[in-house]
Symmetry: C2
Subunit: 362 residues, 2 copies
Amino acid sequence: MKEKRIYNFNPGPAALPLPVLEEIRESFLNFGGSGMSVTEVSHRSAQFDEVINDAIERTKRLLKLDDKFRVLFIQGGASMQFCMIPMNFMKDGQSADYVNTGTWSTKAIKEAQIQGKTVNVVASSEDKDFSYIPKDIPFNSDAVYAHITSNNTIKGTQWASFPDTKGVPLISDMSSDIMSRAFDVNPFGFIYAGAQKNIGPAGVCMAIIREDMLEMVPDSVPSMLKYTTYSSKNSLYNTPPCFAIYTVQLVLKWLEETIGGLDKMEEINRKKADRLYSFIDSSDFYRGTAELESRSIMNITFRLPSEELEKSFVQKGLENDLGGLKGHRSVGGCRASIYNPTPPEAVETLVDFMKTFEKENG
Amino acid sequence: MKEKRIYNFNPGPAALPLPVLEEIRESFLNFGGSGMSVTEVSHRSAQFDEVINDAIERTKRLLKLDDKFRVLFIQGGASMQFCMIPMNFMKDGQSADYVNTGTWSTKAIKEAQIQGKTVNVVASSEDKDFSYIPKDIPFNSDAVYAHITSNNTIKGTQWASFPDTKGVPLISDMSSDIMSRAFDVNPFGFIYAGAQKNIGPAGVCMAIIREDMLEMVPDSVPSMLKYTTYSSKNSLYNTPPCFAIYTVQLVLKWLEETIGGLDKMEEINRKKADRLYSFIDSSDFYRGTAELESRSIMNITFRLPSEELEKSFVQKGLENDLGGLKGHRSVGGCRASIYNPTPPEAVETLVDFMKTFEKENG
């Protein structure tokens, strides 16, 4: 039982900015002078319109989206997008390119194939246990889209820059690095991100769609699975996950107003990651698992000399108020997820703990 | 701007029990001694396992479900179920029966038809503007299921008892009356309910499935749209909407431990509805819109002598701290939604206000 808040390195659901949590708590019984909780107000009220529209406007400003992009909020997480993307964008006789960089890419591919869609896996890093991001990828010029996973939470890899698909719309799962760095959105036809890592709680997925992609959506897709439904109704076709969208709004407000935007956020994130990687590289006890130039600035994956030490490291970490340091159950090892809300002090405290643990066990 | 909480007659998202909101607020920065918010804990943690399993066990006890029923939590609201039900339960060459009792039934039918499924609308109350629940329905013995909407939020009607489908699995959208009354679940193959009326916030849909229905699910359905995925993974195949499930757990705990279960809840709900209907029936100023024996105990729909008076009634209501009295935008009029969390005092206060309004405007 913890009396106080701990530093949280969970991979998702993950830490949220403390001022955001405090604002939610403060207004929880009476939101915006409505006399109701944010969980009780109508999604058709002026109060909620302000929430969702502010979240959209902040997203547009932060990512420098022009008017050809629409911002949508969809339920079901990134996993639902794995099936909605081929359902909306790929017709019979068409094919799409996928780059396989780990568990989430593999699932995205599988959900297209379940529907009988034609998928070309144009590159994969499976040969080296997904420890790197492939280069010089032979994208097909007739693909309807090219799908990548911008950051791989489990293996700790990230695309340092995005590939040139020669005009084929790029689609990316950005669940674990959206809003963590500045990038040029123009090559992208569609971007999606489960909120529960960088921008909010579990229960909502942000999607950014370029309007020409909306023309690809077939009529035979059910309403709740069609991007056109969300786009034409401002994500209010049915009752949206109001609380989750409200939290996203507050996180984006914090990102714009307290942090100062994506350039600042990226600078902070790179410093946090550099601090951890430099320490790991300087140690003979800890060993990073991702190839140098493919390293993620969000999920720092590393191993210790033995599985027993790793188990002890995770346990001792928690005893020292450092939570969530266990690697994904499918790969083992250790992992520190340091998304936007993780403050630099958390990383400093972690490095101190790692030093002490090494001394005691090295 | 309201300084205090108001009485909330919203149709959904709707009022939540005050003790539930207070408990969420209390634990919001440090949930269950985890040192994290409930929005920050891992969905694979022991803490969250306890939340979801407790919500499931309480549902089973409250509804007297035996082991052949599974309780699932799915995103996308009841609207997502409109498409998932035919996708999971109806193969080519098969057909299903639907009873059309209003907007939500109509949408459920439409989402089956979009997918090219064969739907038999075996009864409809459209002839009288959906003001009643049909009787003596000619269900087809070869239908794979028979679909009804147990309570119709917009028109204020409700099935007083469920129809005999002669062994064909009954499926019901119970979004607006789940957990409001005791009933025999045995004829049901599948029950679903968007949480945001009786049992929680928007962002999660409770589904109850009889295990034989799981055998009907085809392999060609994407993972996130298959009931078997949710059933085999205890609704934890991917990150679930943790906060919404947590709130549902607390509402069910309140229902079991504070209210005392469904028989007690039903008694309270019937008294609240009787109070309002008796007053409306005793007045020449207000007029109920649903036929007597089809009246909902959840959504009390009524009209005033003119649309102008209705507009003024809704406005004055809000000024008197009574929110959400406007009828659905598609039908106009007035509506008081009095789900489980609405206390009897709220109904008394509303009746007093209605009397005063009648005196001043009658």
